[in-house]
Symmetry: C2
């Protein structure tokens, strides 16, 4: 039986991946420090005899090395995913994304683990000159510490694959939505509307164009990409072929909640320093392999609202 | 008077830059841990009342922060430049290139230093698909830990420029040659031929095509780029418009030394894991500003041989 390790196993995407891997028959080692991960996301996983959980930090090299024993493949999903407040604590992206990825690779090397899947981000394209943006877009300029730290992680993985004959598959995600979603604009908007249904303050002018992908579609794509990639190092964009404006998303959320709040836009074409006013990835490469998303962005947003309404505890857990 | 800080001030390129900056009238703070830098390279600089030297490590944040006081511009040249043996000690590139650059940026932020020049490398292009390779070449795949660590440094600088309103200028160097050259193929070949003039072992098949630039031309370009860049973040390739084969370079070295050794090629199209068999950068961007190199590659190689013959102590110092 294949034994895999998932970093960030208690997180939004990580815990959904753990459940899927267990359903598919894998033996799964979860690794998480529960700094943002939630124990409640692992209730199903904990019921499986094929699941074991290691509570540890990726900056703790001995613990990580011990967890990696007899593992075939690492799904490295753990990250500081807080792109917006990066400039308030610049060390966090370096530690949790770049150095953490180095530690994962070193633990793999010490334990002769040869395959890694990595959750990177469309943010590595900065403000892309080519939209939809393909994987081989012109060499980008970084606009966020988050993007820079993920690009550094990608570079480390590529160099390890070349230097130590590992196999790496990098997935550049758009924003992911769905069950167990615990941060991002839908989270913030639903939370604010619960506190005051009459008005909603919005960063920027509402015209930022963004692409989103439903978490189960994302997981399908990751497993699909891992199964179908033979090269030493591969990169796939993951997203839908559509985008929406922030204002569209607000409409869908409000309709779903049956609310008609007064909207207060802060103005400007971006919500924060380093915000990218237009994200749309060219996903032809992974689609050519046969994968395609099952939900539209609107359906993903609506399913996320449903999840948040049924799981109010996540707002408390994140505060 | 402008006060600047040079990291790697006792190194090959750094010490030449220090001398030039002093000649141009700047007040210069040198920063170096002398792990590979040479005190003898600073003899001229030490004679200037406008030069002060701080012996410190870039991983020592308090020392670095203290050195950065009242500085206008940082020339960040310190690096682990040993590309070939990266896989023997992968932590070194992370520490000395990526984390060191983060520390430089944090020290700048703490001291409100707003401008940085950074010595990056053509290695960030990996095995480039477009040759000559322009700055906006297709998004590359890293093939060395050195390239990956420098790419990470570039990304950090770009994100800091965006997030904290600094100005950054990144220079992607080809291999640099000339006075105070203390590592690289000319160094290795001259050293080996001093020990045994009858034969020379060469990594690869001798057909790797590489580009080189003379150190004084490199320094001209860096100062030129800093003077003429107004954007928040700029990138310039630095090289000549020509390349040579390793075997050409060997011919020039042997002619200069009056030797005709037996050549023993190890074979294969690259010298080591991650070696790039063809490096040629498109330098039109900096040339369009008016800069051009004064020496050909051959002249640069010959001047390097002259330097090494007159300064045999550098072979001892590096051993």
């Amino acid at each position: 039986m294949q034994r895999v390790l998932v970093t960030g196993a208690a997180g939004f995407i990580g815990s959904n991946l753990v459940d899927r891997l267990l359903a598919d028959g894998y033996e799964v080692v979860g690794y998480d420090n529960f700094s943002t991960g939630q124990r409640r996301f692992l209730v199903d996983a904990n019921a499986s005899p094929r699941f074991s959980m290691v509570e540890g930090d990726l900056l703790d090299q001995p613990a990580l090395g011990a967890a990696m024993k007899a593992v075939d493949t690492v799904f490295h999903l753990s990250a500081n995913a807080d792109i917006r407040f990066g400039t308030l604590h610049p060390r966090r992206d370096l530690d949790q994304n770049t150095i953490a990825t180095f530690n994962v690779l070193e633990a793999m090397r010490a334990n002769e683990v040869k395959r890694i899947a990595f959750s990177s981000t469309g943010s590595v394209y900065g403000e892309a000159k080519v939209i939809p943006t393909p994987e081989d877009a012109p060499f980008p300029v970084q606009t966020s510490l988050y993007g820079a730290s993920k690009l550094a992680g990608e570079g480390l993985i590529a160099a390890y694959c070349e230097g130590y004959e590992m196999q790496g598959v990098v997935f550049r995600f758009v924003s992911i939505l769905g069950e167990r979603y615990t941060h991002g604009h839908v989270f913030d908007f639903v939370h604010k509307l619960q506190q005051d249904p009459t008005k909603l303050s919005v960063l920027g002018n509402g015209q930022q164009r963004k692409s989103y992908l439903y978490v189960q579609d994302c997981i399908d794509a990751v497993l699909f990409g891992m199964k179908n990639s033979q090269d030493r190092f591969s990169i796939y964009n993951l997203g839908t072929d559509e985008y929406c404006q922030v204002s569209d998303s607000i409409d869908w959320i409000c309709q779903k909640l049956g609310l008609a709040p007064c909207l207060q836009y802060s103005g400007g074409d971006r919500g924060w320093i380093g915000d990218n006013p237009f994200i749309l990835l060219d996903c032809q490469k992974i689609r050519a392999l046969g994968w395609k998303p099952t939900l539209t962005i609107r359906e993903g947003v609506e399913r996320t609202v449903d999840y948040l309404r049924g799981n109010g505890w996540v707002f408390e857990a994140r505060n």
